[in-house]
Each structure stands twice: as C-alpha cells, then as structure tokens.
Symmetry: C2
Subunit: 437 residues, 2 copies
C-alpha cells in the first residue's frame, strides 16, 4: 500500500487508524519488505553494551539538560552533520574527532544552549565538554563526541556543564535510554526513541535510537539531533555508507519550516557486542539487512520529529510517483512539502489541489501539468487532463484525519519518493514569535 | 541612507516615520538619485492616451471583477510572465499574442477566477475574452492582451464575462485608472496604483501603473499582476529590456510566502503620445531616465504588494552589503526574507540575529560567518567575530515599528542588494487555512 516503507512486525501498521496522541511510533508500513525486522522496546540502550544517563545540571531552569551515552567496548562511529555554512562549535569538534579516529566510547550532549555562533570561546567550551566526559567515563579525549542544542549565540554555562558531567556519569545505566532521550529535548513535546531487532547470520542484532527536534526542521538537517546505537559490528566505511544512505531516505526527507539549523547531527555507534560477525563488505547480505534496520530506526525518529513539529496538528506524507528519476520525484515532493499555502490548506482541511500543482510547477522540474494526477488519501482530486470530479465531502473526511497522504503521479517514469511534513498552524507562529515570553 | 533606491520629489521619504495605514506610497527614498523623477497622481490613466474602466460583471458576488485598459493610439507592449511550469491559459495567450505582434490596444482582466489548470476549455475561454474585448473597443484580435486572477481550477463563467466586456467598454474613461485598479483586486485590502513624471529631451513623460497581489507572492512572480502605461515612445526591444531589468530589481525581489503562482504577469504599454522622441538606442540618455522612472513605478507597486501581504503587520527590507557579486547579495537576502523563523521572530518583535545568520548559512553562498555584521534598524546586533553587545531595549524599539530594515554586511566584496518581505503572522494562517469560509 505504501511505497518505499519498511515493514516491522508487532507494531501498528494501519495508517488509516493511527493510535491517538503524539506518541505514535512513526510510520511502520505493511508493504511486505524487511520481514526480518521486528520492533523492540527502548531506545539507545536497547542494544547490548550501551549505558546512558540524562540529568538536570542547570543549563535549563528545571528540565533535564545533560545526556551521556557510553559504549562498552568502544564503538565504531559515523556521523552526518548540518550542511549550513554556519556550523556550531560542537559540529566542528565532531568533524575533527571523526577525521582522526572512528573509535568512540562516549557522546556528551547538552540541551538548552546550542553553543552556536560563539567564536573561539565556543570552540574552547566544546573541547572542555569532550575532556570532562572523557575523564568522567575513563576514556581518551579522542574517543568522545559532543553535541549541543538550544539557544543560539550565547556562551555555554561551561562550569555548570563541567560539574554536571561526572554527576551524569554516576547515573549511567543500561536502562538509561529514555532518560537520555528526555535530556536532549528542547521545544519537543514528547520523548523520541525507538529500537528494532534484525537477525544477521543467525545472530540477533539490535538497532536503537533517540532524536530531538521540532522547529528549524528542513530537508538538510535541522536543530535536529539523532543518535543511533547498535550491537552490530561494521567497518567504519560501511557504517558511514549505511548512515549516509539511511539519512538520505529519512531525515533528509522531512521538513517542518524549511529552516536548516547550525547544529544538526545524526551519529551512529556500532560496538559489535551482539556477536554477529564483522560486516565489512557491501555485498554481504547481512549488510543489506543492517541498512534496512538502520533506515527503519532513522525513519521512525524522523517521523516522530515531524509529528512533533512546532504547532503541528497533522502528519502529512507527500508521495510522488512516476518521476523520470528519483531525484525528480524528491524535488517535486520537497517543493509541495515546503509550500506554506499547501500547509495552511491542509491545516484548514481544504482539498486545494491547485496549490499542490503550483508547487510542483515552481519546483524546478520539467513536466506536463495536463498529465498530473493528485489524490488526497484515496480520493482522486485531479485526474489527467485537468479532470476535476470528486466529492468535496469525501476529501474533507480524508483531510479531517491526523494522518494525511497526498499522492501525486507525474507520469514521466518509474521513480517514486516520499517526503514528510506537517501542517502550518497559528500555533507555529505563536511558538516562534513569542518563544521568549 | 538607503542603497539602491530612487528618489522621488514631493513624496514622503522618511522611513523612520512612515505615514499611517497600509496605503503608504511604497518606498520613495532620499538617496539623491533620479532627481528628474517626480511623483504624480493616479495610475494607469495618468499618462496621455490611456482609458480604463473597472466594473462588476458577476464573477464575484458583489465586488468589481472586470477591468479594461485601452491605449489610443495602439501602444508598443512588453510582458514578463510567471516562471511556473504550470501556466494559466491567459498567460499562454499573452505569450502567443506578443510573439506575433507587440502592437497592443487593449488589456482585459477579470478577477475572482484565475482560469488556471482548466485545459482546453480554459484556452478557449481566454481567447473568447480577447475577441470580446477586441470587438468592444474596435481593435483587431491581435491587439488585445488578457489576464485572470483568483481561484484556480475552475472554469470561467465566460458568458458573464463576455456580457460584461461591452459594459466595461462603455465606462472607459481617461480618469478610470483607480476603478481599473480596484477591479483587479482579489484578497488585496487596498488599491495599488502610482505614477511618476520624468522629462526626456525636454518633454514631460509619465509612467503609471497598477498591481494586485497579496498571497502566493514569491521572488519569481506570484498571483501578482502589474500593468504599467506610459506615453513615452520606445522600440519593442528596448521596452522589453527596460521591463526585464525593472522587474528584476522590484517584483523579483519581494516575497510574502514563497509560493510562485501560475498567473503572474507584468505588462507595459508605451503609446508615444507624450511627443518625446522614439527611444530605440540603449545608449540614449533618455532611455536611462525612462528605465529609472519605470523601475520607480515597479518598485512602488512591488512594495505595496508586500505591505498588503496576507496577514502582514510589518514591512521589512533585507539589505545585504559586501557581497562578492550582486547575485550573492541577492541570494543571501532572499534566503533571509524567506525564512519562516526570521519572519515569525520579526512578528514577535524579537532581535533574533541567530536566525538571520543561519538563513544566510543555508542560502548556498560561501562566506565566513565570523566576519558577518547584522543590524536591526540602526542597532548593530552582531559584530564581526561574533561580538554581541547591544541594548535589547533599543532593538525592541526598532522592531516595534511598522517599517523595519535588517542590514547585513558579508565583507566579501562591494556588491549590495535589497529584498523586501513582511512578517509571518497568525492571520496569514487564518487567511490561507480558512479562505473558503
């Protein structure tokens, strides 16, 4: 029914009847792919050999603001970071660390302050966090990654964080995943974590993850942090490839407001404790399974971010079929997902296919508008040749749901792509206009 | 004080104290340029030899919805149309007409229905409007242009419009400019027209214009119509060049919501009745004067559209200096102007320079963030080297005004560009989510 998805056994898979509330477990879809993948409880501490903690150290007034994630033994790491030219200090530090060595034992994250646009002092503070975490968990400085999220342009209260890191280390626990996920939240309204299991070479392997983000979300990373752990064993090159491919199909295909942040990062740690053999060859069938499991976790986390989009009341999939290339399908889908007019129409539950067609029209792709077909849910609102003949009532019923799928057929080729976004509500304006008060 | 503007004598020119209300006459700026240009009353009928009418024919329930603009004698015409791949029928007709002949006697425009995405019948209806207007004013079919604006995807009530055109022709008047400007409005809240006078070769020449548009406004044309008239005399090639250059610096540098419409058009008619000689050589000093006057009118109309942006409460100039090229400065300015986070911060009157810097960061240009300077009005909020030391109170005072200027210095070269936008308010969401109710 839904192209491009991953099936996960034992999870909700009926789009038409999503569980209530914002805590829905993303999109787990019944298309028969990835039969080997099953959902499991927890997040970053679901795989073996990971400890985590989340505490309040004092960056924020009351809420938890410091997270520590530790792999024992050291893990192979890979990361994808923001494409914004303005890169926050921790992003620069992570790039430097991974360029030297991909063997990582800990990740330290603070929320409440992004340590962005803070010049030399920001760099010093990011390194201070690395050293403090290394010392607290008994690792080498080269074995620690760092991330920050929150307000831009203010110096970190670095003494507060330095004092907090040993306290967090004392709380490290193999069941600390949820506390860790809570401590990286900023404007998020719910904890974002998930985990899946896949059997590789007869051995069960777990991939778990947590993420934060709800504003400043755009296709190429955002104030969006994602951390994935696994007890699989991969070579650094293969782990990096898997992460790049996985983010391309997940975090790079969501948008809330189209603003790309300075602090985005998705990192993955693979510590090999599952006992499944080392994956170092891309043609190994176990690698394909791992990629599927990783993408499943990344996609679930990405969808949770969209569901938690600032002011969002609806979760919207834009599914474009019939592109001459996948890139073309993605470009059209991204343009629709980014249109304020489409997003407000969805908020108003109005079947305005004209705004959808216009957004494809200015996306930059070449196509024949007279061949385009558009459906809202199962209701065809525009048929080829500009034939418009649908029940407004039926379309309204589709749009009154919390989960909406807009599908477009370009009739140019066989390539498909989905993109996920949310509606644009007055609450988005409220949150972002009055965020200081 | 303001780079890139055109001075106009006899008009309000103090940005810090704009006249109250939305009817401000755009931006007429005191930088000493274009001394020869003076403002005058009226719009499209301000130049000699133009008649116009605006009536209610029945596309809309009550408001005026049909406009006729006639030049006597026939004028030389040029037009710039939407870049959207999805082009409404009247846009296709205008392109075909001007490809055959640039001698034009009339423009017929209806509001209330855009005749977009309407297939073969839409094309037939657009040609029917052309023929009806030609017949009503005694012109050849080849001498008429047509435009439509309003709802997308519905067939025109063509009999109603056909019946209305002769009625509009009977109302044609040399003082009909304002009625015409009113009849092309859709969600506009005020009439948009202006005119200027310039002396070319000792002979006074007038350029007048009207425009409509407030939603779906993006850099490359929008549901935005602009019609400019002049009694200057220009060769078709020179008139076209002047229009392309003028729109590049005006309509292509504004955005409200970033959505590019299917119906955008700016057309200019030059009928030569001023008695000033024919301009057919780009090196003629009279041509430069004409270009300045035309750009002045286009810029005023463009600014009126931004001021009337759906839900807009503030008019914002993004002035980027120090670009390595003009294109670079435009790219940075456009990115800032398009950021929902910047626009909501301005709505909330918050001096969030971080969002401005982040928007430059993802604009696609290369630059050193540590060298960037940002001012809100006269208040430097970010100095080079990430030095942040400003009075929040003073910044708040600037942001509490209706007219706000954000200036950015990239320190990469000597090229500057301005871009104009408005804030993003809850009312924008209201207008576009609930536009049918």
């Amino acid at each position: 029914m839904y192209a491009g998805g991953r099936a996960v056994k034992g999870t909700t898979n009926d789009r038409e009847h999503p569980p209530a509330g914002k805590r829905d477990v993303g999109e787990l879809r019944p298309d028969g792919m990835g039969e080997a993948i099953t959902a499991c409880a927890g997040g970053v501490t679901a795989p073996k050999g990971f400890l985590a903690a989340g505490i309040h150290c004092g960056v924020k007034k009351e809420k938890d603001d410091l997270c520590l994630l530790v792999s024992d033994p050291p893990a192979t790491a890979a990361a994808v970071v923001t494409t914004n030219v303005v890169k926050a200090a921790p992003i620069v530090v992570v790039k430097e660390q991974l360029a030297r060595s991909t063997s990582i034992r800990a990740i330290v994250v603070n929320s409440g302050n992004a340590n962005a646009c803070t010049g030399d002092r920001g760099m010093r503070d990011a390194w201070t966090m690395v050293r403090a975490a290394a010392s607290a968990v008994g690792a080498d400085e080269s074995e620690v990654l760092v991330a920050s999220t929150g307000v831009i342009g203010q110096f970190l209260p670095i003494e507060t964080i330095e004092a907090g890191i040993p306290a967090a280390a004392r709380q490290l626990s193999p069941t600390g995943g949820t506390a860790a996920a809570r401590a990286i939240m900023t404007t998020d309204t719910f904890v974002k974590e998930c985990a899946v299991k896949v059997t590789i070479g007869g051995v069960p392997v777990v991939v778990g993850g947590m993420a934060k983000g709800s504003g400043m979300i755009a296709p190429n990373m955002a104030t969006m942090l994602g951390f994935v752990t696994t007890d699989a064993d991969l070579s650094p090159a293969l782990l990096h490839s898997a992460l790049v491919k996985g983010t391309e199909h997940s975090f790079h295909r969501i948008s809330v407001d189209g603003d790309t942040s300075t602090n985005d990062m998705v990192a993955v740690l693979a510590n090999g404790t599952s006992g499944a053999g080392l994956l170092s060859d891309a043609s190994d069938p176990g690698y394909a399974l791992f990629c599927d499991a990783l993408e499943c976790v990344l996609l679930q986390l990405a969808h949770m971010i969209v569901r938690d989009g600032e002011g969002a009341t609806k979760f919207v999939e834009i599914a474009v079929a019939g592109g001459a290339t996948e890139e073309e399908a993605v470009t059209a889908a991204r343009s629709i997902a980014g249109s304020s007019l489409v997003k407000t129409a969805i908020h108003g539950e109005d079947a305005n296919w004209g705004r959808v067609l216009a957004a494809i029209g200015y996306s930059g792709i070449e196509f024949d508008p007279a061949r385009v077909e558009i459906c809202f849910g199962h209701v065809p609102v525009l048929r080829a040749g500009y034939v418009i003949d649908f029940s407004e009532e039926e379309a309204k019923k589709v749009l009154s749901r919390k989960d909406i799928r807009i599908s477009v057929h370009l009739h140019r080729g066989g390539h498909n792509a989905s993109f996920w976004t949310c509606d644009l509500s007055k609450q988005y304006v409220d949150i972002n206009a009055n965020y200081r008060t």
